[in-house]
C-alpha cells in the first residue's frame, strides 16, 4: 500500500538546518563527555579524579546529549528516508551506533563501576573513541558519497 502524505518537516526550509544544529550540539555534548572519560582511562586529562567518578559526574550530560541526538536524528532521517536507507555511509553509521550504544551501557559502564579488570581500561577507551569517531565520519560522508537511485 502506498502511504501518501507530506512530512511536515519538509514544508519549512528551516526545519532541517535547525534539527542539524540540535544534532551537532547534542553529539558534541555526548561525545565530548564520553571522550573526557576515555582520555582519563588512557592516562590523559583529568588525572586527579578517577575515571569512574568522572563518568558518574558526566552521566546526566552524556544522556542529555544522547537524547538530543536521538531525537533529532530520526527526524532528519524522516526528511528523505529512501536516500538514507540506501546510503552506504548511513548504513555503516547505524551499525556503529548500535554497537556504540550497547558497548557504552553494558561493558564500558561495568568497567567504570569497577566491576571489571582495570587492565581493560585502555582497550575499552580505544574502542569507545573509535566507535564514536567512526560515527562522526559516517555522518559526514552521507552527504559526500553517491546514493544508488531511489
Amino acid at each position: 500500500m502506498l502511504i501518501a502524505f507530506e512530512n511536515p518537516l519538509n514544508e519549512s526550509p528551516l526545519a532541517f538546518p535547525i534539527l542539524e544544529c540540535m544534532h551537532i550540539v547534542g553529539f558534541a555534548i555526548a561525545v565530548g563527555t564520553i571522550a573526557l572519560v576515555d582520555f582519563r582511562l588512557l592516562g590523559f586529562g583529568m588525572l586527579r579524579q578517577s575515571a569512574g567518578d568522572l563518568a558518574k559526574a558526566f552521566a546526566p550530560w552524556t544522556l542529555f546529549g544522547l537524547v538530543l541526538v536521538l531525537l533529532s536524528g530520526p527526524m532528519l532521517f524522516s526528511s528523505d528516508p529512501d536516500m538514507y536507507y540506501l546510503n552506504l555511509s548511513f548504513q555503516i553509521k547505524m551499525v556503529l551506533l548500535a554497537i556504540a550504544l550497547i558497548f557504552h551501557f553494558t561493558l564500558r559502564r561495568k568497567l567504570l563501576r569497577g566491576e571489571m579488570s582495570a587492565s581493560l581500561g585502555k582497550p575499552f577507551a580505544c574502542i569507545s573513541l573509535a566507535l564514536w569517531v567512526g560515527m562522526i565520519f559516517g555522518g559526514i560522508f552521507i552527504a559526500f558519497i553517491v546514493t544508488p537511485d531511489h
Binding site: I24, V31, G32, A35, I140, F141, F144
Partner: protein, 182 residues
C-alpha cells in the same frame, strides 16, 4: 593585497588545490574537524559547567579548570588546523559566504571574551574557590562562553547551506571541470 586576492592566493596553493580536487579528502578533514570539536566541546562544557556551579561541585574550580586547560588548547589547535585546511581549499567561495563571515566574527568575539575574562576568571581560580559563592563574573563568563561556542557550531553548519556564487568564481569552475574529466 586585498582580502579577496589573498583568498584567491591561498586557494591556489598546491595543498589547498589538492584538498579541493580530491573527492574524499575534504569530507575526511571535515569529519576530523567535527571529531576534534567533540573533545574540545567536552573540555569547554565541563569548565563552564563547573564555573556555573552545576557540575563537579565537590571538586575545586582550580582543579577542574586547571586540568582542562591543556586538553582545551590541544583540541582548539586540532580543530583550527582542520578548519584552516577546509577554509583554504575553498577560500574564494567562502569569502562571499555570509555564515563563514559570521563564524569569523564570532571567533573574534571568543578572543574578546578571553581578553575580558582571562585575568578575573580563568587565571584567577584560586580566588574563585575562596569566595563563599561563585562570583557573578565567573558565571557570566561561563554562560557567554557556552552561548558563543554553540553559536559557532551552528553558524559553521550554515556555511554549507550557501550556494557558491558561480558567476564570481573562477577557481571553482576549474575544479568542476577537473571533476567531470575523472
Amino acid at each position: 593585497m586585498s582580502l579577496l586576492e589573498f583568498a584567491k592566493w591561498v586557494q591556489g596553493t598546491d595543498w589547498a588545490t589538492y584538498v579541493r580536487m580530491s573527492a574524499y579528502l575534504y569530507p575526511a578533514i571535515l569529519s576530523a574537524h567535527l571529531s576534534g570539536i567533540a573533545l574540545f566541546a567536552g573540555a569547554i562544557l565541563v569548565t563552564d559547567l563547573r564555573l556555573l556551579g552545576v557540575m563537579l561541585r565537590n571538586q575545586t574550580i582550580s582543579d577542574v579548570v586547571g586540568q582542562l586547560r591543556w586538553p582545551k588548547r590541544i583540541g582548539l589547535l586540532f580543530v583550527a588546523t582542520c578548519g584552516l585546511l577546509l577554509a583554504s581549499s575553498k577560500a574564494e567561495e567562502y569569502y562571499y559566504n555570509t555564515f563563514f563571515r559570521a563564524k569569523l566574527a564570532l571567533l573574534a568575539l571568543v578572543l574578546v571574551h578571553a581578553l575580558i575574562f582571562r585575568g578575573g576568571v580563568y587565571n584567577n581560580t584560586a580566588a574563585l574557590d575562596q569566595a563563599g559563592k561563585i562570583p557573578g563574573k565567573a558565571k557570566l563568563a561561563a554562560a557567554l562562553s557556552l552561548v558563543l561556542w554553540i553559536s559557532i557550531a551552528c553558524v559553521g553548519r550554515g556555511i554549507g547551506y550557501i550556494e557558491p556564487p558561480l558567476d564570481k568564481l573562477h577557481a571553482f569552475v576549474t575544479g568542476a571541470t577537473a571533476g567531470s574529466l575523472r
